[in-house]
Symmetry: C2
Subunit: 407 residues, 2 copies
Amino acid sequence: MVARFSRRAGELRASEVRELLKMAARRDIISFGAGRPPDECLPIAELSVAVTRVLAEHGVEALQYSTTEGCETLRTAIAARMRDRLGINVPASSLLVTTGSQQGLDLTGHVFVDEGDAVFCESPTYLAALNALRRSQPRFIEVPSDEDGMIVSELETRLAAAERPKVIYVIPDFQNPSGRTWSLARRLELLDVASRWSIPIVEDSPYAELRFEGESVPSIKALDRSGLVIFMSTFSKILCPGLRVGWLTAEESILRKYILAKQGCDLHTSTLDQLLVATYLSLFDIQRHIEEVRHECRRRRDAMVGALRRELGDAVACRPPHGGLFLWVELPAGMSARELLRAALRHDVAFPPGDAFFANGGHANTLRLAFSDSPPDRIEEGVRRLAEAFREVRDAAGPEAQLAATA
Amino acid sequence: MVARFSRRAGELRASEVRELLKMAARRDIISFGAGRPPDECLPIAELSVAVTRVLAEHGVEALQYSTTEGCETLRTAIAARMRDRLGINVPASSLLVTTGSQQGLDLTGHVFVDEGDAVFCESPTYLAALNALRRSQPRFIEVPSDEDGMIVSELETRLAAAERPKVIYVIPDFQNPSGRTWSLARRLELLDVASRWSIPIVEDSPYAELRFEGESVPSIKALDRSGLVIFMSTFSKILCPGLRVGWLTAEESILRKYILAKQGCDLHTSTLDQLLVATYLSLFDIQRHIEEVRHECRRRRDAMVGALRRELGDAVACRPPHGGLFLWVELPAGMSARELLRAALRHDVAFPPGDAFFANGGHANTLRLAFSDSPPDRIEEGVRRLAEAFREVRDAAGPEAQLAATA
């Protein structure tokens, strides 16, 4: 049968990169692909204690249907953490538990975006957010961004020139993929502009608690006095991703739409997983756990940055992030990260090329390296292999490209 | 801030009924609202053993990111059950694990439906399927249905008159809300027509294994030789709903679209929950468990049907279903189920009026009673209260309505 798909599904294609990486997964490969928290840090024993407790004490609740909003105990615990750790003061009733924060992104498209509506985002931005929002067929408008975050004057230029976007999507802390953290000034400027134009800000914040050094900057939500910010986060990086437990908070009229939208998507997030996280939070010290994750990620960042400097020196540009999971790399102008990936796979090392993180493509000489997923010695070995691949690609290029690559 | 929602989100409103039932949840109410499996049957101890085993033996896998398609062990176990219990022969690689089968419905809209596309469904049909599909803004065309299922000659009339639908959505076993089961003849007729017109059939089958009496009828998927049928099911009724583990199977080119669509929605279903179900299936006898659920649901159906006959005699019409969780009731013509609900809530008993289950409304004198969610004595008490409410509504009506109501 030849099925007649929807227009948007007609455009759904497995990316070339995904297929390359999938092929690679079959072999003994060192992958810098996924932003996974370190395997070694997963609190398996603690979660085992907690889940046994949940089933012993709340078995029926854990296994039955629940409300779309999420379990009361979890929402209460999240509200307390947001207040204590992030300076965000919202009641538990303003929270929606989501099936990972990926679902928060999908729901954002549902709630705000009609075909052709403008969505503003950083340049580059999180690939899977683009994929989630594409379901609603927006026009993405990339706002130029630098090491301090989105350049808000550029945002204003685009607001004056283009139509008003439905939402502005940002990741202000240890951004995926660039690793950058917005300055306080930029956060305040964004709030100012967004409130003048009355545009909701979607603040995606999965990494804020994984800071290795320097001072925390308040989240945009913590600075928001106008109810503009839809804040979303997740337990994926600070506890574990397998449970798919995330959350979002928004002003009441907006939250109501998200809840109704989620109802049609999956009724509610796994009750067992919600109660498991809530019980873990009540029995164990998640701050101590996060400290371990932070420590381990920092070691891995240092290993990667050190190995890159040793192996490639100034041939590539990268700026060590102060937290999170990702290092953004620029190859010499004219060198293709996709070509480098093909060579790298022959050396059993993998990474996603950077162009996929730009809503409208381009930037073929960039790539993202996740340093969180391998211990330091594997990272060093992986970077050695990557450097070999780099030299192969450079040496295979014409003299002009070589000149640029060694400049 | 006044947010500018998408057009479809502008139409998202909490239903009056949902609000009524929510209010009701705060009091000691007997609810015939939700199709929950009996609390008393939930295999809490077995799942506790299984989850401990999962974390001890596959802790890292259970807590990390997984593939969108779903865990290999679970897909293999589901494929084996589908072959042995449902006569459906498909390889594990043709399965996608979904976050409940609700997600399968949401993805169906994503994959097939553009705004204004026709979707054919039974009349009445599953309310939450309508809600999931509404995100893609279809036109629903209700096909008249009787005790044997969709009337396929009526389907053909509509195919000749209206545009070809993107999908035909059906629940052939113990349908939600009507309780009816399609005859074999109707299933074959549907396949014949759908294959002549080349229209995918979405077969939603959460209840097929909950048969109390009579012979099983093969699923439409088991009869399908053309790859027309997208079959979806769930562990919600045969194991427990809290885990949100469902699945679907479809012909390869269609399955690929579902997988890519799901990736944007929530990346993947909870890894822990997937491995928990797989491990439960390997350690325990789910057939024995299903036998208990079936036995208990049957007792509850009998209690409800008996009580309705005792309390209301011929004043209402209902046909005891041969399985599943739902009893469909018709009030006398001219009596409003919403009015009955308001009266019933004063007597602390609740149910959803039937009009919400018709894609295009109407049928104000119908209602759905879930018999699975209360033990027999509570059911009998609930039906007594419902009968009091019924008499109040009838007696408050004019003499003409009373005549109809007692006819």
